[in-house]
Amino acid sequence: MNGLFDLTGKVAVITGSSRGIGRAIAEAMADHGARVVISSRKQDACDAVAAAINAKHRAGTATAIAASISSKDALQELVDRTQSEVGQIDVVVCNAASNPYYGPMSGISDDQFRKIIDNNVLANHWLIQMVLPGMIERKDGAIIVVSSIGGLRGSAELGTYAISKAADIQLVRNLAVEVGRHNVRANAIAPGLIKTDMARALWENPANIERYNTTHPMRRIGEPGELAGAAVFLASRAGSYVNGQTVVVDGGSTV
């Protein structure tokens, strides 16, 4: 039965995995038997997470390969080194993202706008383009993009970020249609408010956290580990007929 959620023998590359949701996904995938590649901008941060996972499991479970998602060359090196040092990539989790701007869209600079779209959409497209040929050849693969409930609703302060996350939802929908016939599945996860460094401004705001604790259906924000289950489900045999979907993990805040 638990073979349904087993990832033994799989190699998963997770971007933005030295912290928060990405780290939780990497840890959970390793818990379920996968070999994982930890990647974010700083090598030492990746090394620390990989070392912790290897200490819990066994050496070689996690490999640290730093890469900035804003560099196409760095992403290609991430893919090439994964393939030569770890193995063929079965699962890719595009989790790293940026949000350099809070406020109305009238105030965002073109550079900030482009940065958000580049890092949150184009970089995902790059990485997926790089791993797809191998997945199509093997007729097996799982692509997971971490979007956000920001991509499902309008936002007074996170407009461009929300646009980029809506684009991620369409990215997997489109990939599902394009590559589903090769048994490559593409899905997104849309987290609600999760206790991560990236969302610190939201959950350290007393009014905001008070609203969650009194009106949210689960009366709380989420923990990074609570996103990881959906990623394991989507990557594993348990999710073998899920394709083009966005799994909302928000405790019910968008109902």
């Binding site: 083009g244 979907q245 019910g252």
Partner: protein, 268 residues
């Protein structure tokens, strides 16, 4: 996080367990260690996978309030608790034709089984779960509830209703530690779709099954059961009020020919 999905010591009710998705899910929950009450109507209850050590069969009309109360009471009385209610029983109707060929009696029966059934499950399972600190309710909706063309009008409307039911229930059960979610299966080989599959087999057209689907195939009941297990498990501890679509990508794409989707489903 615990690695294994372990329902040892947990109690699950699965309705519509005499066929297809319900039967596969009852088996899966039992395999994961749960005690399972497998419910179905008088004419199907003998098809539930009772006989498996952890599964008991239970005859019930899941749209009858007294029967649902009795079902929940049995879980609490016989097994001491209720952790999971999978409200899966449903009908799709057998009358061919369009909206204008159906009548209020068809709609009333469809609403009774497909919508009032899940409503009663939420109404009576949630308090039992609250009594012991939480639980998970999962309802079977359908991709037919997301848009047109994937089933009869009355069926589709009731399945759309199920999606809203889980949203509203999640909101109204705020703070209770009871999560409520729906699954929207696409084309799955079950008793409900047997006509389409039989037709395809008889006419050498199995390659047409799922041809509009990005994965180019129909789904298996076990591929829905695994989602029910996921949604009921700690892996989904922050998933609430969500309609999880499991359709191979069907609803993500534009059907190639308008109306073709419906013909694929009905085999007409």
């Amino acid at each position: 996080m615990s690695v294994a999905i372990d329902f040892t010591g947990k109690v699950a009710i699965v309705t519509g367990a005499g066929s297809g998705i319900g039967r596969a899910t009852a088996r899966l929950f039992a395999a994961a260690g749960a005690s399972v009450i497998a419910a179905d109507r008088a004419d199907s209850v003998h098809e539930t996978p009772a006989g498996d050590a952890r599964i008991v069969a239970h005859q019930a009309d899941t749209a009858d309030e007294a029967a649902v109360v009795a079902l929940v009471e049995r879980a609490e009385r016989e097994f001491g608790r209720l952790d999971v209610f999978y409200a899966n029983a449903g009908i799709s109707g057998t009358k061919p034709g369009g909206l204008w060929d159906s009548d209020p009696a068809d709609w009333a029966e469809m609403a009774r089984v497909n919508l009032i059934g899940p409503f009663l499950a939420v109404k009576h399972a949630a308090p039992a779960m609250v009594r012991r600190g939480g639980g998970a309710i999962v309802c079977t909706a359908s991709v037919a509830g997301l848009r047109s063309g994937a089933g009869p009008a009355s069926y589709s409307a009731t399945k759309a209703g199920v999606i809203n039911l889980v949203q509203t229930a999640a909101q109204q059960l705020a703070g209770t530690r009871v999560r409520v979610n729906a699954i929207c299966p696409g084309l799955i080989e079950t008793g409900m779709t047997r006509r389409a599959y039989d037709y395809a087999r008889e006419h050498g057209k199995m390659d047409r099954i799922g041809q509009l689907n990005p994965l180019r195939r129909g789904g298996e009941p076990e591929e829905i059961a695994s989602a029910a297990l996921f949604l009921a498990s700690p892996l989904a501890s922050y998933v609430n009020g969500h309609a999880l679509v499991i359709d191979g990508g069907l609803s993500s794409s534009h059907p190639l020919t308008p109306g073709e989707l419906a013909r694929t489903y009905t085999g007409a």
